[in-house]
């Protein structure tokens, strides 16, 4: 019987991290395709600015602030995990989870307000794109919350690698929102 250690896909790079980056690449293609379609449709017809004037810039800005701050807390969680500082790890993971929940809460308020005003997904092409892109993004935020919650519960076992990989996903979700905010709220 022979024992062998699996060679890393990239020298000095754990296979898990390479895998996460491949996964993120597929996610970039998915959101990139959506964003590219949105931009092309928007440039090709009129009336978009009037429709987008009905979304709440203030709530969108608060959510941007929340996600940017949660990116800080999740990377601080990784730094804490590397220092093997379990209390700090739990604190920063907890703050990240709270940030994600806050984001989803505000998004729910926005959806409720918009749907009550008659801006349903069928109210026009802007709203179709709006609900598709923000809804898909919100599902990703939810998945990130679940990942971080699992790490929060397992924080005692000190797993910096897992915290880093979950953090990469969370930052990606943040980067997607960084582009969705100006596309849907500011232009």
């Amino acid at each position: 019987m022979s024992t062998s250690v699996e060679a890393p896909a990239i020298p000095g790079m754990p296979a898990g991290k390479v895998g996460v980056w491949w996964f993120l690449a597929s996610e970039i293609m998915m959101f990139g395709g959506l964003i590219a379609s949105y931009m092309v449709f928007r440039l090709g017809s009129s009336g978009w600015h009037e429709a987008s004037a009905h979304v709440s810039v203030a709530l969108g800005a608060v959510n941007t602030l929340i996600l940017l701050t949660s990116s800080l807390t999740v990377v601080q969680a990784f730094a804490a995990a590397e220092r093997e500082n379990a209390p700090a790890l739990r604190l920063f993971l907890g703050l990240t989870i709270l940030g994600g929940l806050g984001f989803l809460g505000i998004k729910a308020i926005e959806y409720t307000t918009e749907i009550r005003a008659g801006f349903t997904p069928g109210a026009g092409i802007f709203w179709s794109f709006y609900y598709t892109m923000t809804g898909l993004h919100a599902l990703h935020v939810l998945a990130g919350i679940v990942l971080n919650a699992i790490l929060f519960l397992a924080a005692r076992v000190r797993t910096p690698r897992r915290v880093e990989l979950a953090g990469l996903y969370w930052h990606f979700v943040d980067v997607v929102w960084i582009f969705l905010f100006p596309l849907l709220y500011l232009s």
Partner: protein, 92 residues
């Protein structure tokens, strides 16, 4: 990034992110210069995304191949937009 090697000043990056976010919001108030406002809004968004990717996702410390994995789909999305552009924008 190899564990325990490099951690940039994360709080300083966050302050930059907030500043860029504020700049993007102020740009929406630009009187008369809508095109300039749009350019500033998307330039600040791109800068924010780069700051997060390079510092929080540690791309500046990763092997070049990881950067390639991240960049290739972005290029494909741009190709998609450019390929679709004439079909919708010039269709009458």
């Amino acid at each position: 990034m190899e564990s325990g090697r490099r951690h940039p000043n994360y709080v300083k990056i966050w302050v930059w992110l907030l500043g860029l976010m504020a700049a993007g919001l102020v740009a929406t108030l630009t009187p008369g210069g809508h095109a300039i406002g749009i350019i500033v809004i998307f330039a600040t968004a791109t800068a924010k995304a780069l700051l997060v990717a390079l510092n929080y996702m540690h791309l500046r410390f990763e092997p070049r191949l990881i950067c390639v994995i991240a960049l290739v789909p972005v290029v494909f999305a741009l190709i998609l937009a450019i390929a679709l552009f004439p079909d919708f924008v010039f269709r009458r």
